[in-house]
């Protein structure tokens, strides 16, 4: 799709066309210089050419976006077009084009290996729009702090004439920065699509906006057309929307639940899911109980701290594999030998497993180890890499790729 490049594009949002032309040129230069440097400047200053309105703040936004898109997509053919398209149209359109263009442009070019997901851009856009708009009027600032209940809104909703960023809604699901979260809790405002339709709303809106602002303990809800505006029903509606939002999240959690409609059935599925998980825990603990007497935990622990001290010793193909198998063996093998060598930091209530020696592996391990003595009084494994080591090891078991060098045993 060919974005309109005329600078006088009638989005009707900003009345300042001439600065836009100048800005578009400036943007192009900047973008090209950035392309040469191949760095991203997320903090690109929005050029304040349009005066103090929020549009100029938003003008900066698509430029940032375009820059990042261009950088990430690394496609050489789109920079000028995207930049011009982003810069030349009006505020809301710019945003829209900035968001949709890369998709149109990079698809034909077929490259962009590092093209970030739409979500990341949208999130950045939201962040910038919030930060930019927050300096302007408080009215604009209150709008981006959407509640999470807008998940019902379709994501492809076109921006309205006020260029209110719709992006907070898809962003809601993907990132909740703490700052915005707090603003949400205090100030929930319905989206622009629902605003200003009925007479009743006038009163409700006035009531809400007089107390607008961040971080109030009240929930602000704009009344919809034809609905009662007394505080009880408003509060109840807010509560219901909250519950619906949570139900949607739960539907995503439970597999196969998203096509079910109806609260009771969804709750059924959730209950079944939780029950099955709990049953699985019981079964697994039974399994572990059956297997357990052979495991020597002290040996495990010592081995882990040692393993992480050693790191990945490249030992041919078997280096890491040997470590893996040795971990397995060490878990069962006599840890007592190791225990005598290391000081006891924790309370071992354990009896030692009967020694089952594999001397060859053991000696090799000993030779290449750095023993790291964990500090007394700290965590079980002394430091975090140990737990990550165990974690990594367990991951490998998971994937079934552990390996023993043939000659070692």
């Amino acid at each position: 799709m060919e974005p309109t490049r005329s600078s006088g594009d009638g989005s009707g949002n900003s009345g300042t066309y001439t600065p836009e032309i100048a800005e578009s040129l400036r943007f192009e230069e900047e973008i090209q210089s950035l392309m040469r440097e191949n760095t991203v400047h997320p903090s690109l200053e929005p050029s304040p050419a349009g005066g103090g309105s929020s549009f100029t703040a938003l003008l900066g936004l698509p430029a940032n976006q375009a820059v990042e898109l261009l950088h990430d997509s690394e496609s050489g053919d789109s920079p000028a077009a995207a930049a011009a398209a982003a810069a030349s149209s009006g505020g809301g359109d710019m945003w829209r084009f900035g968001l949709r263009d890369p998709k149109a442009l990079t698809l034909p070019s077929g490259c962009s290996p590092t093209f970030p997901s739409n979500a990341a851009l949208v999130e950045r856009a939201a962040r910038f729009s919030i930060f930019a708009a927050a300096e302007e009027s408080p009215d604009v600032a209150s709008v981006p702090s959407h509640s999470g209940d807008h998940s019902t809104k379709p994501k492809a909703e076109p921006p309205d004439t006020e260029c209110q960023p719709i992006c907070p809604i898809p962003v809601e699901r993907q990132q909740r920065p703490a700052k915005r979260k707090e603003a949400e809790r205090g100030n929930k405002v319905k989206g622009p699509a629902k605003k200003s339709r009925a007479a009743e709303e006038g009163s409700a809106k006035v009531a809400e906006e007089s107390t607008g602002g961040d971080k109030l303990p009240y929930v602000h809800v704009r009344a919809r057309r034809g609905q009662a505006t007394d505080s009880h029903s408003l509060a109840e509606r807010a509560r219901r929307e909250k519950i619906n939002a949570r139900m949607k999240l739960l539907q995503e959690l439970v597999p196969g639940c998203s096509k079910i409609s109806g609260t009771a059935l969804v709750l059924d599925e959730i209950i079944n899911h939780v029950q099955s998980l709990q049953r699985q825990v019981e079964l697994l603990s039974m399994r572990l109980a059956a297997v357990n007497p052979r495991i020597d935990f002290s040996g495990l622990d010592n081995f882990l701290s040692a393993e992480c001290g050693r790191g990945m010793v490249g030992n041919g193909r078997g280096g890491v594999g040997m470590e893996q198998s040795a971990w397995m063996d060490a878990a069962v093998v006599n840890g007592g030998r190791r225990q005598q060598q290391q000081q006891q930091q924790q309370i071992w209530h354990l009896d030692l497993v009967h020694p089952h020696q594999t001397p060859s592996v053991w000696e090799r391990e000993d030779a290449s180890h750095l023993f790291i003595n964990p500090n007394p009084g700290t965590s079980l494994f002394g430091y975090d890499p140990a737990s990550s080591g165990l974690f990594r090891v367990l991951n490998r078991v998971e994937t079934g790729k552990w390996y023993v060098k043939p000659g070692t045993l």
């Binding site: 939002a245 009771a264 998980l277 825990v281 297997v291 495990l300 063996d329 878990a331 078991v397 790729k401």
Partner: protein
């Protein structure tokens, strides 16, 4: 509400998965718990061992998650038995006190909510006049069903009987994600232990499963 903030920031909502830090903390605690419970000694019955393992798994999950309603409820319920209390204290250390301490909003919120609900019901009844339930009206039926399900859910989630509405669903989500991670980790642990047990019998039969030992 700081509790809810911690809820959302702990798990990335898009992927619906527990974070790696959670899993690592869980593993650490669980292994510590398994040691301290003395599961390796031969003098336990299978049942005792199983309950000890389950206890250490639950405690590890609760500790790794931090301060949420269900995690606190798990620790509190487990420590109601005296024999567990000592073990819990040694596993958790100072986290035990932190998790046991009754948090202000866990018991005040439901009480105040009940008061609010009652007053709301009175107000609306006074305003609209008593509206008799419509018998087989679908809305009423749906409400009854949902009420039944929420009661079941409250029994499932630890500490859920004091929660309501969106809080209950929040807790369910968080609890389900943690449970899933717990199941996953316990599966891996059991696989690892079983494999090593196998290996102790016959080390030479360990075969290479793949050529590349790519690190995750």
């Amino acid at each position: 509400m700081p509790r809810l903030l911690s809820l959302y920031l702990a798990f990335p909502i898009t992927t619906m998965q527990a974070s790696n830090t959670f899993k690592q903390a869980f593993l650490k605690r669980m292994l510590l718990g398994l040691q301290l419970a003395g599961v390796s000694s031969k003098c336990m019955t299978i049942q005792e061992r199983k309950s000890a393992i389950k206890l250490s798994a639950d405690v590890a999950m609760a500790c790794a998650r931090g301060s949420t309603n269900w995690s606190r409820a798990i620790v509190t319920d487990l420590s109601k038995q005296e024999k567990n209390k000592v073990l819990l204290r040694s596993i958790l250390g100072k986290d035990f006190e932190r998790l046991i301490k009754p948090c202000h909003h866990t018991w005040k919120i439901p009480r105040s909510k009940k008061i609010l609900k009652r007053s709301f019901r009175e107000c609306s009844r006074r305003r609209k006049g008593l509206r008799a339930p419509h018998g087989l009206a679908t809305s009423v039926l749906a409400r009854v069903l949902v009420k039944k399900r929420t009661q079941v859910l409250k029994r499932l989630i630890p500490g859920g009987e004091y929660l309501d509405g969106s809080y209950l669903l929040d807790e369910t989500l968080d609890y389900a994600i943690s449970l899933r991670a717990q199941v996953d980790l316990m599966q891996r642990l059991s696989k690892a232990f079983e494999a090593s047990k196998l290996g102790s019998h016959n080390v030479c039969t360990l075969q290479a499963r793949g050529d590349s030992y790519a690190d995750k």
